[in-house]
């Protein structure tokens, strides 16, 4: 089942044409919101606004045809832009385009390797941390525009935020970010304010995008430069896309194909890179806006991309007049909307380990400006906490309340629960090697040995007893070590769990 399954007539009808009116309108709203974002993210990455705008067009249009999740919006994003800053600064735009192509290849590979499943290892708290870190980074990226500026900029930004949040109380039929941009542009133009505008930030598109192969030498050195960036871009892009996918899945109560989405993201990045655009991924905020505006099908994403391009190419002179203050206001709204507000409230209820994972993800991301590192930290911490929790589920019971049998001097130890690297220390400490015993029986039938550390620990226990001259017998070894076997063939059988758990 590859891309071809997307093109069965019934599926095309359902995913493209089941909600035409809603999709067209929502796509329009999203396109209006995408323009300022694409410009802002280009500025974050340090490239001309046209790079982000071309990317947004290509990604939205291609993903509409190839993605796994109808109704999800993908374009140039902040998370990706933040990863490109150094590459652009040190090597320039051409290397960024090459990195974008490689990102796409890696993502398609991930789709074919079915890495969508890997998402299971990313716990809820890491996801929450990811979203919150993203929100904070978007907000921080706006600060340069608010430092060393005249009071006009602050006034305009405040006015912009006011319009964004208050205008929906008047009417919900017009996108308030668009109204903000129009009003602030008019004010700045009417008062001839000497403030920074989008036109000052670099080149805007004046033509349709054209195919151009990145102008970089095709050698190992180039690969060596772009590979680390591409890898981070691929990982973060897929993370944000799959996270957004599950959010949209939840909102619409449908299940969609994750691996298809990975392949689609890859293909859309390859197209973006070959038309002079930067890498992008799914957008949490825009996808939610799309759903809220009534968009459900692939047509909404497609419309957003096409309308964006038409407006951009025809409105270039007007776009260049937009004051940066208006963009800042819109971006502050995006960051506020992206932030998971309930996670702050939930911190009181959640266990400490969960909060530490979430905060570490946020902390590392904000510190390094790299979401990939933040997520890696979160996943590692979550795994460690989990191992620690599970290691508590181990105890060794001995018939210690009675003296060993007078005649045979024999004692039985019964091991219960999970023995693995995190619990071996406790396991070894549970045996008393100093007792005067002829024989010890260790009953493992209620224990699970998960790894080689636990087996080594058991060997050590046996050796310690033998050194004291005590004979050791181990029973139930087979059930206990069944869990070490890394082959999962056993899991296919219905009674696998029972057998594994030693019942």
């Amino acid at each position: 089942m590859g891309f071809l399954s997307l093109y069965r007539p019934a599926r095309i009808r359902r995913e493209w044409f089941s909600n035409v009116r809603g999709d067209l309108l929502a796509g329009l709203v999203v396109a209006l919101a995408l323009i300022p974002e694409a410009i802002a993210f280009s500025i974050i990455a340090g490239v001309d606004p046209k790079v982000g705008l071309y990317a947004s067009f290509c990604i939205a249009v291609v993903i509409a045809f190839t993605g796994g999740r109808p109704g999800m919006i993908s374009a140039a994003t902040a998370a990706m832009a933040l990863l490109m800053i150094t590459l652009v600064k040190e090597h320039g735009l051409e290397y960024l385009l090459a990195a974008t192509l490689l990102t796409g290849v890696l993502q398609i590979l991930a789709g074919y390797l079915r890495l969508g499943r890997v998402l299971r290892f990313i716990s809820n708290s890491v996801m929450t941390g990811f979203v919150n870190a993203l929100a904070i980074l978007i907000f921080l990226a706006q600060l340069p525009e608010l430092i060393d500026v005249t009071w006009h900029v602050y006034a305009l930004t405040a006015l912009g935020l006011g319009i964004i949040y208050l205008f929906p109380y008047l009417t919900r039929s017009l996108p308030s970010p668009l109204v903000t941009i129009v009003v602030l542009t008019l004010i700045a133009w009417a008062l001839q304010l000497d403030i920074r505008t989008v036109g000052d930030m670099g080149e805007l598109p004046d033509t349709l995008p054209v195919f151009l192969w990145p102008d970089v030498p095709l050698n190992w050195e180039t690969l060596w430069i772009i590979f680390p960036y591409s890898l981070a871009l691929a990982v973060v892009g897929l993370l944000e896309s799959l996270l957004t996918q599950s959010i949209v899945d939840d909102l619409t109560d449908t299940q969609t194909d994750r691996n298809q989405e990975c392949k689609g993201q890859g293909l859309s990045n390859i197209v973006a890179g070959s038309f002079g655009g930067m890498a992008g991924c799914a957008m949490i905020g825009q996808s939610v806006i799309n759903i809220k505006s009534g968009g459900r099908g692939r047509l909404s994403t497609f419309t957003a991309g096409v309308v964006l391009l038409i407006m951009v190419v025809f409105l270039t002179p007007l776009l260049s007049m937009i004051p940066m203050a208006a963009l800042v206001a819109v971006m502050i709204m995006v960051s506020i909307g992206t932030f998971n507000w309930s996670s702050i409230k939930n911190m009181k209820r959640h266990p400490l380990s969960t909060n530490i994972v979430m905060l570490s993800t946020v902390g590392v991301t904000v510190f390094t400006h790299n979401l990939a590192l933040g997520v890696l930290t979160g996943v590692l911490l979550a795994a460690l906490f989990f191992a620690n929790k599970v290691s508590q589920f181990m105890f060794v019971g001995a018939d210690t309340d009675e003296l060993p049998d007078e005649k045979t001097l024999h004692r039985t130890y019964r091991v219960h629960g999970q023995v693995f690297f995190a619990s071996v220390e406790k396991f070894m400490a549970a045996f008393d090697y100093r007792e005067d015993l002829d024989k010890v029986t260790i009953d493992l039938s209620r224990a699970h040995f998960w790894d080689i550390s636990s087996v080594a620990a058991l060997d050590k226990v046996v050796v310690n007893f033998r050194r004291e001259g005590t004979e050791v017998e181990i029973i139930g070894m087979n059930q206990a070590t069944a869990t070490i076997v890394d082959k999962h063939a056993v899991h296919d059988k219905p009674d696998a769990v029972d057998r594994l758990m030693g019942h």
């Binding site: 709203v29 909102l251 109560d253 905020g285 806006i289 505006s293 009534g294 909307g337």
Partner: protein, 283 residues
């Protein structure tokens, strides 16, 4: 696989479905189950074009959707139960002692597909809730329903008349032979006057086939009349129906490839559209 399943939806054709199902249930001496499928559509588009995101907007959005759907879901289930209660009363009045009833929350075609293992006959209305008042309109689910069923389907028109004469649209193919055998051996149409109509060239081969069909039915005690005519299938069948006052038509379904149906349309759909009488479709 012994039940009659009557698919109702509370639309105006439901009464007729109940009547047809009761009639079939009595004739086949099979238990009757009334099935009503509701679908609580999730995340229906409610347009808010403000395009802005407020703090906690995502969580709030999900909460709003869930609330709306919860209320609607409860309402739909209540309505569904009322529709079933109505139908139960109606078939009881027709002499069905203990009709079963089932309310499912699913897509219609899937829900019926899940049940067809236990079904001997599936009775559906020609048009459902979204059918307008056009006599010829065919319900949106009907074609895919017939296509996915392996059991015989009885498509009921808007009114019930006790059938006394039925006809089989016969073309001599293996599929048509199957229809013939099914009808001949089933108690559903026992004792009714049978007509076999073949729309094909008038030659010896076709005559032989028709004779074979006649004897197969006659062997089961049917009073049979046969006819061989030429012309466009649907037109000829409709003309014959009017002229002989036929009250039920038995036929095979969707014999052609998807491609051909796509371009030419299908005889089955055409027949459903043009028939004011019940259609027994045998796969």
């Amino acid at each position: 696989m012994e039940k009659i399943i009557a698919c109702i939806d509370g639309s105006r054709s439901s009464h007729s479905v109940c009547d047809h199902a009761a009639w079939a249930s009595l004739r086949l001496q099979a238990p009757l189950t009334l099935l009503h499928v509701i679908k609580n559509v999730h995340a229906e588009a409610k347009a808010d074009f403000s395009g802005n995101m407020v703090l906690g907007g995502r969580e709030a959005l999900l909460e709003q959707m869930v609330e709306a759907e919860e209320t609607r879901g409860k309402l739909l289930r209540e309505q569904g139960r009322a529709v079933l209660a109505d139908a139960i009363e109606r078939v009881q009045a027709k002499g069905i002692a203990e009709p079963g009833s089932l309310l499912r929350n699913d897509r219609v075609v899937l829900a019926i597909g899940d049940m067809q293992e236990e079904a001997r006959l599936i009775v559906v209305g020609k048009q459902g809730k979204d059918g307008d008042m056009v006599e010829q309109h065919v319900g949106s689910h009907l074609e895919s329903l017939i296509r996915t069923m392996t059991r015989p389907v009885l498509v009921a028109p808007l009114a019930f008349n006790q059938p006394e004469r039925f006809m089989i649209a016969y073309d001599g193919s293996a599929a048509a032979q199957k229809v013939l055998d099914k009808v001949a051996t089933s108690p559903l149409l026992k004792g009714l006057e049978a007509h076999v109509l073949m729309v094909a060239e008038d030659n010896g081969d076709n005559r032989a086939k028709l004779d074979h069909a006649r004897s197969a039915l006659a062997a089961q005690g049917f009073d049979v009349q046969v006819a061989l005519r030429q012309g466009a299938v649907t037109d000829v069948v409709c003309a014959y129906r009017q002229e002989q006052d036929i009250q039920l038509l038995a036929m095979g379904a969707f014999g052609h490839s998807l491609l051909r149906r796509w371009f030419v349309g299908s005889t089955t759909t055409d027949m459903i559209m043009r028939s004011p009488i019940p259609l027994l479709i045998v796969r």
